[in-house]
């Protein structure tokens, strides 16, 4: 469950962003729509605790995350939130397998090789587990970044413009994977986008005003 209440964020005196209250039930799939500069990325960072609001509160699974200390927030994020970005970015010096194991380790969870193997299998990239990011195609990289986001079975899966740089076929594939993984893990899925192809697949939308 996600709930935002009276949420505001100030970049400076002139740029204040206010977000209307919003409640999301566990397992729902939502879009975050809005023009460029409307605050989509800011809201995503507030939801993930990367930014602290100037006012208001964010609740994730009944936890008021703005009240958490920095270290506790880092742990909470690692264990409960999976993030996927427009550009799939993996740690270059680590293999696919090591990138996923690192996600478990940084979240403070015990290393679970079986879980990693299962996730890689479900995303059809198990044969790439020993490869380094430089040896993968863009599509494979995006699959690995989704695998990394879901490996800890997060209750909240957030994707920031995951399809905007992909052609129709790949955009559909990535979206399928995100929806499937969210459903398999009973995770809430939030996708920040202005991509119409995504809007056709998910009904619920939180619209940000410029």
């Amino acid at each position: 469950m996600i709930k935002i209440q009276s949420l505001q964020y100030s970049y400076n005196k002139e740029l204040n962003l206010s977000f209307r209250d919003w409640t999301v039930t566990q397992g729902e799939q939502w879009l975050m729509l809005g023009e460029s500069g409307s605050g989509k990325t800011t809201l995503l960072h507030l939801l993930t605790g990367l930014l602290k609001p100037s006012h208001g509160e964010v609740y994730i699974n009944q936890t008021a995350i703005c009240q958490l200390s920095n270290t506790k927030m880092d742990h909470f994020r690692g264990a409960h939130i999976g993030l996927i970005f427009q550009r799939a970015h993996l740690i270059k010096s680590l293999t696919v397998l090591q990138n996923l194991l690192l996600a478990q380790s940084l979240a403070g969870l015990p290393v679970n090789n079986k879980r990693v193997e299962d996730v890689l299998n479900s995303l059809n990239i198990a044969d790439k587990k020993a490869n380094y990011p430089s040896q993968l195609s863009q599509g494979q990289l995006q699959r690995v970044s989704i695998a990394r986001a879901v490996v800890n079975k997060p209750s909240l899966l957030i994707a920031d413009e995951p399809t905007s740089s992909l052609d129709d076929r790949n955009a559909r594939a990535v979206l399928d994977l995100l929806i499937t993984q969210a459903e398999q893990n009973n995770a809430t899925l939030l996708i920040a986008t202005h991509d119409k192809r995504v809007q056709e697949r998910i009904e619920r939308a939180y619209i940000l005003q410029s």
Binding site: D74, S93, L94
Partner: protein
């Protein structure tokens, strides 16, 4: 997948830069290690070999050469002195003990020293096997001589003329091994000890009996290389050397003074090299700093992703510090090994067994070098680590 592994992986991703950093640190540490080992061993050799000898009297020439040849057995003697004049000095009331030394031959590079039983007391020599020399051509071997020549009690061997080399072997007389010393930890481990008469006879100095005293003795034909002297009282320090130098054809040299002079001469070179090594270490610290700083710029997004995955700011700080520590620790350990191996290689090429320095000796001070290596690692990586700690993850992610 712990922090250490992440740091290792990151270093391995930039192998060339890492190798350069490690090499720089290793060179600096290696030079310092080499100097530390050499200084320590030379200092101990000087101290151990000269501690109970107050003065050496020998032929005029360089006092340092006299000390090097008669105390450390690493240089040629300045010449010989008549036994008659040496005897006169030995009976001087200012002298407590005087031990003659007759040098001139070697066995496989180990010097054969003709002397008397006073030498045994002077160095407090202990036997491992057999007995001390008694008759002509009987020898007592230092532990290293016996070990390296595989010699045992009852074995015979020939000495060679000169202080090194085996080209001019004295085949007219063979030495008989009657005793082997316990390891003494000083120069006597490398000596072949016999009586003075054996050295004379080996070189065919004729003794003609002229009613109790030999003619050769009276004529000054019987010679020794030097006289090792212990003073009777502190007063002797002032009077005796001056008396020898001014009123005889011989010279007196103080082991303590000459050792100190030698060490100060060596010290200038050691200091210069040490500063050179410190400069290399300083450059290596800057190099580690630059490479970590640059790599931080290259992988700031990696670090941001790690934060997203749950790494705390402090964890990122530790990752960078660990990288600096890994580089400097590997470099320091490589440098320590390099120092020891280099000294051992130098030792293998040294002709003089007496001056041999060993690479397999470890010093407590080497621990300080590891601490210094740690310090350099922390200092060099501190600024990049703080930068990683303070980086604005939200901004970085938004920019990408």
């Amino acid at each position: 997948m712990n922090m250490l592994k992440i740091s290792f992986k990151s270093i391995a991703a930039n192998k060339l830069t890492a190798a350069l950093n490690i090499m720089l640190i290793a060179f600096g540490t290696g030079i310092i290690t080499l100097l530390m080992l050499a200084s320590d061993q030379i200092g101990k050799k000087l101290e151990n070999n000269a501690k109970d000898i107050d003065l050496v009297v020998g032929a005029k020439g360089s006092p340092l050469q006299l000390i090097l040849s008669s105390i450390f057995y690493i240089d040629f003697p300045t010449g010989n002195i008549p036994l008659k004049e040496a005897d006169a000095l030995a009976h001087n009331p200012l002298v407590k003990t005087a031990v003659p030394l007759a040098l001139g031959d070697n066995y496989n590079g180990f010097r054969i020293a003709g002397t008397d039983k006073g030498f045994i007391r002077l160095y407090d020599l202990q036997l491992a096997q057999g007995r001390f020399w008694k008759n002509d051509f009987e020898v007592t071997l230092g532990s290293i001589v016996a070990q390296s020549g595989h010699l045992n009690i009852g074995d015979h061997f020939f000495g060679a003329h000169g202080l090194t080399g085996n080209t001019d072997v004295h085949k007219n007389h063979a030495y008989l091994v009657t005793g082997i010393l316990k390891p003494q930890g000083n120069v006597t481990d490398n000596l072949v000890l016999t009586n003075v008469a054996s050295v004379w006879k080996m070189h065919e100095t004729k003794e003609k009996n002229t009613g109790g005293k030999t003619e050769a003795y009276e004529n000054g034909e019987l010679e020794i290389t030097s006289l090792l002297i212990q003073y009777r009282s502190p007063m002797s320090v002032i009077l005796f050397p001056r008396m020898v130098n001014q009123s005889t054809s011989m010279q007196a040299a103080s082991p303590a003074l000459e050792s100190a002079r030698l060490f100060s001469l060596i010290g200038i070179g050691v200091d210069t090299l040490q500063w050179f090594a410190v400069l290399i270490m300083f450059i290596s610290a800057i190099s580690v700093f630059i490479s970590l700083y640059n790599s931080l710029k290259e992988r700031e997004y990696d670090l941001a992703i790690m934060r997203v995955m749950g790494a705390s700011k402090f964890k990122l700080f530790l990752v960078i510090i660990t990288e600096g520590l890994i580089l400097t620790t590997i470099g320091t350990i490589a440098g320590l090994l390099m120092g020891h191996i280099t000294l051992q290689l130098i030792s293998n090429y040294q002709d003089s067994t007496q001056a041999k320095l060993w690479g397999n000796i470890f010093l407590l001070q080497e621990g300080y070098l590891i601490v210094v290596g740690f310090g350099i690692g922390i200092i060099a990586s501190l600024l990049p680590a703080i930068q990683a700690y303070r980086s604005n993850i939200s901004n970085l992610l938004a920019q990408h």
